[in-house]
């Protein structure tokens, strides 16, 4: 009756079905009664209303019955939830990192991937981290969801029970491309998984550069990359020494990329707007990037020729 996509489907769907059942019962009987009264006691047929006194027992019944029912519904909701907090000790560890607007999954040995590939029938525990703002980690088919909060160690765990690809959505609003923060959870047989992990590349070599780290922490790579292709904003590649067309207070002009241009672009992004890119998308980092970090960023961008 319930899908076997993960070990939580049954608990969640069961609680859902019971509450929906109780709700439908009340919706139908109460609406039915209401319609019956409206037809039966229409003023044309029933011109004289009967004034009826309050009845204490009646009131007591309809306080007690709902009270018992809600306590029961609370209980089944809670019961379906407890296992979600009881990850087995030997579960496979993966860290999921949310950043504007993509996921990165770190496997053992500093290996990273942007899809989450996992072996079937094995418990996985996923530590949830974020480098910039709040994100969500939601796999509806598995009935799991938990927020990714900067500097907070949230987690989720599950045992996948069906092979295939499942949608992973960001559920906490995180800015411009929130709706595109989507990835795939791919459940594969164990041998296939082992092969896949073996070929997974290690993390980007630039990742150790202090300037890169500052930018990663501030979420710059959501809108910029280092390879020369355009994202939301221009690529960092080759800014230094290049002629750049900008709009300054609505007037087009040209300048040469240098330290001061990079600094203005970061502290006052709406001052010189790069031609062909939208204004007001990039915020000012005046409060979050200090002069020293600025130097690191400049040094790093210089290396991207």
């Amino acid at each position: 009756m319930f899908s076997n996509a993960s070990n939580f489907v049954q608990g969640v769907d069961m609680a859902f079905a019971i509450i929906v059942g109780i709700s439908l019962f009340f919706l139908i009987t109460l609406t039915g009664t209401m319609i019956y009264f409206v037809v039966r006691y229409d003023h044309k047929k029933h011109p004289e209303a009967r004034q009826i006194k309050d009845n204490k027992w009646m009131e007591a019944t309809w306080i007690t019955i709902p009270l018992i029912l809600v306590l029961y519904m609370f209980y089944i909701g809670w019961e379906g939830f407890i296992p979600m907090r009881q990850a087995p000790k030997d579960a496979m560890q993966i860290t999921a990192i949310g950043k504007m607007w993509k996921y990165e999954f770190q496997y053992e040995g500093n290996k990273v991937s942007d899809t989450l590939v996992i072996p079937i029938n094995k418990a996985v525990k996923i530590s949830l981290k974020s480098v910039d703002v709040l994100h969500g980690f939601s796999v509806p088919s598995f009935r799991i969801k938990e927020d990714m909060v900067p500097v907070k160690d949230n987690y989720t765990w599950f045992i996948p029970g069906e092979l295939g690809d499942f949608d992973l959505f960001c559920t906490v609003y995180c800015g411009l491309n929130h709706a595109y923060m989507h990835s795939i959870v791919r459940v594969v047989p164990e041998d296939q998984f082992n092969e896949w992990v073996a070929y997974l590349p290690e993390k980007n070599a630039d990742a150790e550069n202090p300037g890169y780290k500052v930018m990663e922490k501030n979420g710059c790579f959501a809108c910029h990359n280092t390879t020369g292709t355009r994202l939301v904003g221009p690529s960092f590649k080759g800014i230094y020494g290049r002629k750049i067309k900008v709009m300054t207070d609505g007037v087009a002009r040209e300048l040469i990329g240098d330290d001061s241009y990079v600094e203005t672009s970061i502290y006052e992004p709406n001052k010189d707007i790069s031609d062909g890119y939208p204004a007001n998308i990039m915020q000012s980092y005046k409060n979050s990037i200090n002069k020293e970090d600025m130097k690191l960023i400049q040094e790093y961008i210089k290396t991207l020729k």
Partner: protein, 533 residues
């Protein structure tokens, strides 16, 4: 076209100021009620148009009529307008101002000048909110919840939007204060608390929430503004802040805020049902006390908005249990309303039809709230369109339909004229159909995982988005039928008698429209306000 009256009605009265100034400088609670009505109707219209543009955008996957940034601005501003400028002031400012003094036999509210100032504050806040749309930085794109740390980082005009919400909060606090004092001090001689009609009771409970909870969100928004201006690290983890703190502070207000709007809505329904059944309300005391119970317990359930934020198991347990408990007093009210219809003499006019629709939609909104309140199902539906559907059933299906019910109920008293009864019923039916088509499909795709605040979506959700758009269009047709009929009624409708529905509460004992000072003679207080004998 004025109605000829032998007395000076509040509409005809000419004081110190003439024309429009006679309205905006008026301290008459009835004129202020109408001023609120017009302002809020205008805001509602703007918010609804924004809502419709979102539905059009979502009609097909990918870009339909706007870019992602524009969409993010639209849903934020839709939320800010609808929550802070429409539903929170809504019922209490319009009908509370107009009818609270009338129903308790008072000449005005306790602080008429403060009341006038409150309307101006609302307008000032609203101007700020609307200005945030047009500033150079672009409309705020945080969602109406202003969640940190995104709200501390985005380049859009968050400061002005939060300032607007802060200012609007003052309007809410002052209305609450005014009503509490009015109810304590200005009840007509002989009227005890338990002789009051139930709409004043509901306003009383809601006013306490307005007074006590609103300052929390005010402070929170000021903290956010300071963080953006001066880099003080309250919420941004890069500066040593805690983003979860923001969520707690925000919901400590914003959950009770739901009751600020729904309690007066329940109050309106509690007035309409006995009148159109010609029967005393069943369970007067239970209804009065359940309003207070909802207000009190409602302060301690805010965590159900944060189950997935990484809260401890104990906290999830606690908030879930209390969320279920707070459902009971609402259920009690529903049972009492339906029991009041038993053996009544029912006249199916527009106010009552809206009340029936209210009960139906409120049951759906309430029971889907149970699904959200239960911890395991919540994991599945949290932050999906299921939540969107749920709170629209409560806020629009509940508060909105109660507002329409109250508007049709008290309209003849407010304007001294009657609208077309048949057209009013048709308006209600069209709105009801459009509403359900618009929001019900969102429950289904929500359970399947469609996240909220998504500019784009996977093709498997399109069927529901299309039905929703059709529902949205029908809803708009319903608005035009309803508003057209009311405007026509106010201008050239038949003259309304003092008590067209044969109601028993005090507002029906004075002429329509009421005289400037409400009661020319001291009202006679009955011990049971719903005495039909």
């Amino acid at each position: 076209m004025r109605k000829e009256t032998k007395y000076v009605s509040y509409l005809d009265y000419e004081g110190q100021y003439k024309g429009i100034f006679g309205w905006i400088f008026s301290t008459d609670h009835k004129r202020l009620g109408l001023l609120y009505l017009y302002a809020i109707a205008l805001f509602f219209f703007v918010g609804a148009i924004l809502g419709l543009t979102m539905r059009v955008e979502l009609a097909t996957p990918g870009e339909t009529i706007m870019k992602a940034q524009a969409y993010n601005g639209v849903f934020t501003v839709h939320g800010v307008i609808m929550i802070f400028m429409v539903v929170i002031p809504g019922l209490s400012a319009v009908f509370g101002n107009f009818f609270l003094p009338l129903m308790i036999g008072a000449k005005d509210v306790a602080f008429p000048k403060l009341n006038r100032l409150t309307w101006w504050i609302l307008i000032a806040g609203s101007i700020l909110a609307i200005a945030s749309q047009f500033l150079r930085e672009g409309p705020p794109d945080t969602g109406w919840t202003f969640y940190a740390p995104y709200s501390t980082k985005t380049g859009t005009s968050v400061i002005i939007a939060t300032t607007a919400a802060f200012v609007l909060g003052f309007a809410s606090i002052l209305t609450g204060l005014n009503f509490i004092v009015t109810i304590h001090r200005l009840r007509a001689p002989g009227m005890k608390f338990f002789n009051m009609p139930l709409f004043p009771w509901a306003l009383y409970a809601a006013s306490w929430i307005q007074l006590l909870a609103t300052p929390v969100v005010g402070i929170t928004l000021v903290m956010l503004i300071f963080e953006r201006l001066f880099g003080i690290g309250f919420f941004n983890p890069d500066l040593g802040g805690d983003p979860i703190l923001f969520q707690h502070l925000f919901w400590i207000y914003s959950h009770p805020a739901v009751y600020i709007m729904i309690l007066p809505a329940m109050g309106v329904i509690t007035e309409v049902i006995p009148t159109f059944c010609q029967r005393r309300i069943y369970g007067y005391k239970a209804i009065a006390i359940s309003s207070l119970a909802i207000a009190a317990v409602g302060f301690f359930v805010w965590g159900h908005h944060m189950y997935t934020s990484g809260m401890s198991e104990q906290a999830r347990w606690f908030f879930s249990l209390l969320t279920f408990i707070v459902a009971v007093p609402s259920a009690i009210k529903v049972f009492n309303w339906i029991a009041t219809m038993y053996r009544g003499s029912i006249n199916l006019q527009a106010p009552f039809l809206y009340a029936l629709f209210f009960i139906f939609l409120f049951i759906i909104g309430g029971t889907t709230g149970l699904i959200l309140g239960a911890v395991a199902p919540n994991v599945q539906v949290h932050d999906t369109s299921f939540v969107v559907a749920h709170f629209h059933y409560i806020i629009f299906g509940g508060m909105g339909f109660a507002f329409f019910s109250g508007l049709h109920y008290w309209f003849p008293k407010m304007y001294g004229r009657m609208y077309n009864l048949k057209a009013a019923n048709w308006g209600a039916i069209i709105l009801f159909i459009g509403f359900n088509l618009l929001y019900f499909p969102q429950f289904i795709i929500g359970y399947q995982g469609m996240p909220r605040r998504y500019y784009d979506y996977l093709p498997q959700f399109q069927w529901a988005q299309t039905i929703s758009l059709i529902g949205g269009i029908i809803l708009f047709i319903g608005f035009f039928v309803m508003v057209g009929n009311l405007v026509r009624g106010a201008k050239k409708g038949a003259i309304a008698p003092a008590n067209p529905w044969n109601g028993t509460t005090l507002e029906w004992t004075v002429p329509s429209p009421p005289p400037v000072e409400n009661f020319d003679e001291d009202p006679i207080i009955k011990s049971d306000p719903y005495d039909y004998k």
